[in-house]
Amino acid sequence: MQIIQNLKVKESLYLENLENGLTIMIIPKKKVQKKYIIWGTNYGSNDSKFIVPGENNVTEVPKGVAHFLEHKMFEQENGRNSLDVLTDLGVNANAYTTNDHTAYLYECTDNFYEALDEFMDYVQHPYFTDENVEKEKGIIGQEITMYDDYPEWKVYLNTLEAMYHENPVKLDITGTIDTIKDINKEILYKCYNTFYVPSNMAMVICGDFEPEELLKEIKKRIIKQDKKGEIKRIYPEEPETIVKEKIVQKMDVSRPLFNIGIKVNNFSSLSSKEKVRKSIMMQLILNLLFGESSNLYKQLYNNGNISYLPVMDFEFSKTYSHVLISGQSNNPEELYENFKNEIKKMKSQNINQEDFERLKKTLYGEYIKEYNDVTDIARMFLVDYFKDVNTFEFIEQVSNINLEEIYQTLEDYFDESKMVLSIVKA
């Protein structure tokens, strides 16, 4: 195994690419009780149009298949549900679906290898029937309705709707009650066989392990299959422009919720290291603009526009990248205008060197803190893997970002014509 050490956070990554194409990452943590394993496939709600290796025709499936498949993977031919089997072993198992990946996982203190038997068995053995597929539609239907009651979710989806013309990131991961009606077992098998192949998957384990021994145990449980060709994914062409600057939706909330989105173009062509550096810069810029010690925060807090710090993130995957700022505001339009003004001011070279150095220290501390919990560590490595970035690189790069690059990034990515405002209010 390849060993990548990080001296700053004092952790090591053991990396192995198996012959069948599966990537395995182990981050050993001495003396902790908790063990965590996550196995993901680079297949999410965005992948609804593709060419199956060996075929010529384009396959297009209903929205929400990746998530539906995730729900149905637990069903087994012997009539038992793997989630039940794992729960019986005293392990806490779960799964989730995002825009770009689907992941299966469990957390435990004992019975790790007994659970591994079941875990690796079910992910490699789908069992779909007409009956079990139909039954799931009621459950997922209620999951969809549950999200309809989350104003945070609505304000977020509308932000994506405002930024993206075609990119499927703007669609509900779950699909809608209408689209899931058309899902059947044939579609599920086809997607499973296409995307659940070792070369499209990665596994991350964190806990008190001997990496070599663990690797051996994992290899034992892998089912041999022939290597398949490359999956061709077809994504619609996305214009660089936004769709519209503002979306307002009415919902029963006591105070308006807002999201500010900034669409960032041409990010996916950067090298892996550049992606890390740029996203550090984006976070630094956001903290300088609107962080806890910023003038903008102080001003909006004091005039009663906001009462807590908005959450600010730069999000990216292989197919999209954007800034998201979310929070509650008594006057989101005013906040939005102030935010834009603050960017203008900052572009005219008014970043204070002392603020910049201080916020770099803060970000360094934040990256260190991400290594407290085995769950967070394993998830972070998986998510970064599917984004094509090396997780340790964040801690390594943050100290050597300079102010000039910050101004350049500010100029390149904080483009007023790419900003949108989404509001949910009563």
Binding site: Q33, K34, T87, D88, Q142, D149, E292, K369, D373
Partner: protein, 428 residues
Amino acid sequence: MLYKEKQIKEGIKLHLIQNERFKTNLIAIFLSLPLERETVTKNSLVPMILRRGSKNMPTQEEISKQLENMYGAIFDCGIEKKGENHILKFYLESINDEFLPEDNGTILQKSIDKLLEIVFNPLIENEGFNKQYVEQEKINLKQIIEGRADNKSRYALDRCIEEMYKNTKYSLYKYGYVQDLEKIDEKNLYKAYKKIIEECTVDIYISGILDEKIIKYVEENSNLKNINNRKSKIKKYEIEKETEKQENIIFENLDVNQGKLVMGLKVPIQEEEKQYDTIIYNSILGGSANSKLFQNVREKASLAYTANSNYIRMKNTICINCGIEFANYEKAVEIIKAQLEEMKTGNFSEEDVENSKRGYIAAIKSIEDEQDTEIMYYFGQEFTNIKLDIKGYIDMIEKVKKQDILEIAKIVKIDTIYFLQDGSIENN
């Protein structure tokens, strides 16, 4: 992991948790007071004022800058209801000195100083808090209270508990009441603060890579030296008398897409030890993916995505939560009641009991792997009459037998059924 307690003064206790698993130090200060209608709003306003500025860091901006310079130390505060106690919580998390890029070696001490300063050395002007801060935070608190129904699932759960404990202190909303705010000003709030500091039970937790020298360091902190002994007024766990009560059914209408069903159960156990049996009872009923609720409401009947139950130990109350279509109310209630019957008739196996125990024990063993969970575990011990370390806790769960769970099942009673539905549906 090593846990150590040291009483600094009467009613003021320091708890050290030496745990080398983390990259961070976490310091927590909990001020515990009896939950009272008269003080609930002022209590919840106080942390919001304290975080705005202290004597030596008079603005929020100043506090932020100092914490940012400590490699992003994070301050947080909050309010909690624990039985009939009101807890004001203050936290400071900072990275451990071992992980600093340069050797400066004092982040832990600094963190302790800062947190004690924010809690015990506030910004005072003319015998009161800063007037502007108080006026602003009154508005912010009003918004929090009025925003109570923004999260509909949480709201439904809160409302069910409120109905169950109507006319008792436990039904108070932890953030207080809008009508109280009008009468609050910077002077009377400061008075209330002084009374809180004089009377509350203080628990200080320090978790991380540390040694016992830190005890002396805390004891010598001038902000702590300045406060006096006090008699603890916290209400520990106590057995409640069983009361005869009809099943109470409440329908409420709000703008929701999905119906939120909450069923509140009372478990009138007469000995504290029976709580461990109740934990496993709850786990079989609705605590996991194997539970009766998950299997029957969700997997078999396809009525819900969410179907679970939670046990509130301080009140021996179990709350069942389901998100369902409005029209499925009767069906869901019927299935849930059938599950309670199944529990009563013992329609679960010895194996189910062992499996549930296994899952629960794994969760207990993980407590030490999460810094805040570990602190909350030890803090929870301040309210119980039985004191257990992690190992003792596991032993108690190990001892639970099927027969014990049947005893619980027999006494469980539905107290309240609460249903939140769409505004356009008529109640009958």
